[in-house]
Amino acid sequence: MTTSDDPPIRARRLEQFRPEVTRRGFMHAMGASFGLAGLSACVRAPDKEILPYSRQPPEVTPGVAKHYATSMSIDGYATGLLVESHEGRPTKVEGNPDHPASLGATGIHEQGMVLSLYDPSRARAVARGGQPARWAAFANAHATMAAAKVHFLLEPTSSPLRVNLIGRIREAIPGATFHFHAPLSRNRAWDGAALAFGRPLDVRYDLSLAKVVLAVDRDFLASGPGWLVLARQFADGRRLLGQSDSMNRLYVAETALTVTGTAADHRLALRPSQIVALTALLAERVLAGQRDAPPELLGALERAASPAREHAAWAAAVARDLLANRGAGVVTVGDAQPPAVHAIVHAMNIALGNVDRTVRYAPPPIFEAGEASHDLGGLVGALAAGQVDYLAILGGNPVYDAYADQDLGQLVAKARGSVYLGPCANETARPVDWFVPEAHLLESWGDGRAFDGTVSFAQPLIAPLFGGRTVDEVLAVFLGQGAQAEGSHALLRDYWRGKHGATGFDAFWESTVRRGLMDRTAIPTLEQRIAWGRLQAAVEKLPASPADALEIQLRGDPRVYDGRFANNAWLLELPDPVTQLSWDNAALLSAATMTQLGVQDEDVLELSYEGRSIRVPVLAAHGQADGSLTLSLGYGRKGELAVGRDVGVNAYALRTSLAPYANGRIALTKTGEQFPLARAQLEFDLHGREDDIFFHESLEEYRKDPRFTAHKNTAPETLYDLKPGAPRQWGMSIDLGVCTGCSACVVACQAENNVPVVGREGVRKGRRMHWLRVDRYEAGEEQLFAEPMLCQHCEKAPCEYVCPVNATNHSADGLNQMVYNRCVGTRFCSNNCPYKVRRFNFFNYTDDITPLERLVLNPDVTVRDRGVMEKCSYCVQRIREAEIHAGVEARAVRDGDIRTACEQACPTKAIVFGNVADAGAEVTRLRHADRSFAVLNDLGTVPRTRYLARIRNPNPELAR
């Protein structure tokens, strides 16, 4: 059954009431339409007072558009955001600089989220059995369930309001059971903490103090709770401002290369089973001198470590480095690793004296973290036994992303009644009775907690476009409050009034909503003692020897995460930060494994396990562990998705409760078919062009000769007089030493500059439109460098002199400008651009987007027509806005007033923009720093974008 109002059906229904069109009628209608067209921007304002973020910190660009603070939760962990609103229309997301989980930065998901608001696939109405229904009917039908066995399935939550509602429902409905499900849950981490310390805990790191970091299968630079903060701290620990600066060192052991792996100084590619063994090996070395550690534990570790013996030298060197930096190291492990590995890592951190310095433990902000309610098994059992009177699935998409062996899609029908609150007519909407459209975050009031527990508020930027409801509103229905109450605003306000007390509540409310967070609400950290005996028992239970078969790793996708972003065109078009694969997912294999299997790129393999099989194309991946195959979850979506339907392959079909992350028993067969993949970059080899494109050096060599880039990068002689024409001269510096390649800048640029999406075919044909891309270059076995590449704004720009109509030219303040109206599209400029950053509108890419999708466009930036060239403008709209603003205030533009979209999003502050004619500006300092170089310097283009060489900090013991 379909649950949203099916367009053809609705069209037919409308047809019956359509009157005969007469000339007079037509003129009436058209006149009214034109007259009212101007009003349409006004009618979507939220009906409750929302409060602009008025105390703007200096680094926030002030302007006509207003910014509102809100927060976005993924798997219950909130990140504070500022959302830019143009006349009530949210268009762009920035990080909230005050928020402890953002510090002003954002990742690709935060940046891409605004596009989902205007997703044409969003469900438009409440439905019952596929027929449109009224919210009031839904509320009335669910107000009296006190006697029923109601099972609620929610996403993990940290929301104080929601926790309160859950408590009240448990009182009101004695038969209510709550379950929390996230496909990429943190259950294993919590279980690991429970194993070590007796209770589920979250680990909080302080990487700013860390000198040595060991990440075991943990992509902390691009995912996980608080990753934006970790990335910032990690970058601060290796940002070299001079010869004498110190630099942290990162070791990574993982299967598929991740963003964190590309940032590593030493990386070991291991099959999933070997990762467990390597951790045991490292722990054995680290714990050897630990007085508390029982000798039996060491013996158990030694046995568990045996499959990783070949890496003994690596492990020994890393262990020595960690031990040499006691109290200044961090060992961190990914959520996919078994609980015992987490517990081993906790023991290591304790043994290394890192606890209370770089590592602290605190109760998770997530409600009932680590408890049985977070295991879907309970619900599955109840459904199978027919003990469920009513099933309320509020948020998430469990029918799609639950374990394949749990077969939730069939079981949902066993409940005697069911409702699903979801964004669109997706997989889960199919088997349920009632469907309620879910309000987008930017349409919702709510709260949540950051990774450190800080209470964060979410306020709507726009009234629900399609009458969407929040989880809290639906929960309130079960309390009998649905029909008459005022919705999530009232729920939130009432709850916090109760917490805060009526006195001074209005001021408290106003300041919290305005700032988006509540101060001093972080959860305090706790001291912990490890239970060595339990740890030993767990280690002994670790599987001793791995299978020799090809091991398959299933992981959350860097772009679509668990599948929730699979209908987001920006994120699908974004090339994977490591493999540069856009749109689909693929089976990642190392070159050696591919030779062994006799397959090539784009060959389709059939993977089958327990009677379920999928067909997936192969892609060679740099840094992939031999004997492993990595496949991203979150693709192959079904349901009414305008963009993401059938993009990629649904890897959940292979994911079972017993082998959720790694599996050595999946059968592979070659199909002989081919599937064309949309790869954004085809060549990763530098072809010996290091000194032209990407300078890199080891810390040791850098200290010997800090100006090593300058010797090979002197400005070429010129006959031209390059006298600046204006007092302000714009320029940029990009620090390749701290850029991780996470690609947040790419999506930020796309959102800010109305960069069109070209689709799989477009990317495959080499027509992607990204103004800013992140190039990846291989250097040896271990390294895959990232280099953000955007218009370099050359002072002697090769594009300018070849344009026959002067459509691209130079501004007095040093911008290479693109005059779209004048461009006739010869593309000569692109041919002559050595950086190939110019993008051409081969078609009219914005012709077929719906009026709804149009709402996301930034009104400050021209939407380009077909046949014209476009490229990075250094966010000229932001420059001019700041200049006008400064002019109104009769002051000069200050350093930091203008931040380009990429700079603002960057989690590691690798990108710095500013006035290079201002000797005091940070960008000037960086451009004259000793690692500075220009890409393709010898061509004499004199680029305004300069880079800082990447410095690696290899362990001398391992550097051969």
Binding site: Q681, K765, R773, F828, S830, N831, N841, F843, D865
Partner: protein
Amino acid sequence: MTAAVPVQGIREDDRPDVVLIGRPGDRELTAQLVGAVLSPPPWINKVLLVTGFVTLILFAAVTYTVLTGIGVWGNNIPVAWAFAITNFVWWIGIGHAGTFISAFLLLLEQKWRTSINRFAEAMTLFAVVQAGLFPVLHLGRPWFFYWLIPYPSTMDVWPQFRSSLPWDVVAVSTYFTVSLLFWYLGCIPDLATVRDMAPEKWRRRVYGFFALGWRGTARTWSRYRIAYGILGGLATPLVISVHSIVSMDFAIAQLPGWHSIIFPPYFVAGALFSGFAMVLTLLIPIRRLYRLENVITTAHLDLMAKMILLTGSIVAYSYTVEIFLAWYSGDVFERWMHLHSRIQGPLAATFWIVVFCNVLTPQVLWFKRWRTSPRLLFVVTIFVQLGMWMERFMLIVTSEAQDFLPSSWRTYRPSAIDMTILFGTMGFFLFLFFLLIKYVPFIPIAELKETRFKIEEETRGGPVMGP
């Protein structure tokens, strides 16, 4: 009164230095050459039907492209120019031999040019028509092509003269204009002849209109000679300048493989190379079909084959110099382009086709026997044209495909529309060419008579009066 009028004195083993066989009288010549127009062979209508149909397909493909966007082609970033510009350079190069024959050789007083000059000049015109399609069509917004022309815009904006593209517009349009005038001026006396001889009234009217009232008086002949000489003088430098400017489209860029100072002479030689090949490709079958062996003799074939050999050698030398200088420069990008990318890269096949067609094939022309064999010559010219198209494609596409940053490297595949447009222009070209063959005396009658007269003068050692 058909093309197959027997003419005395044709023998297969004619001496190859004879540019007019036998001593046909004025009447005979007129009958033979006007006959081709007044009673064209019946097959020509079928040829026109087929080529006309191909032309319609071309127009459909062009319309589709303009309505949809050039995304329907295979172009991408980095390969932003591909088929369109390749076709442009190829067609415009083909045109060059026509002007070379009609103008250059006129100034050099080469008698052998007479019988083939109109033919060659018309080929120039039609090739430039094909070439002219592409610079407009390849624009992202072709409806604004006139912005490349320096016209007094009310907005006070001018083209950007540092770019070679506005020069291109000027060069090509000048070339077309001068070629058209020069060709048309040459036609006038013969159009008058057709007017005078045509039995049908409509023909007399139409040819009369285009003959501009030509009467053949001594005064008109005198004015005519002066005008023809001036236009010949004007057209001659264009042979050099047009393709030099076209080569600047590449030479002024800094792309490895484009940024090369030898491009202007290299392109001009290449243009003549392909142009002479095209003249021969068209001439050899027409000569046979219309039994024109008496006016287009083995000597013509021999001389043009020699030109192909000469220009082909210049082209081969240019290839060598390019590769040598890339190596000698030590520049990492140039070296990659010439020593790896072109020779071994994903499009290496084009390089080896070029070497085979443009360097190896013309070597057979060192031998007189083969130079004078129409069949072999025909095969060689086909190879040369394939080779020259491939050369332009290789120069343009391989350079773009693998330039400075390896991250943006990408190869190119033409789309069906690309192929349709390429073959469509060939159809269009042949369509125009056969229209000419059908309606215009394609061997200059008056000039041929004059040449015959001069030859007789030379052989008898003094002035001769009439036949």
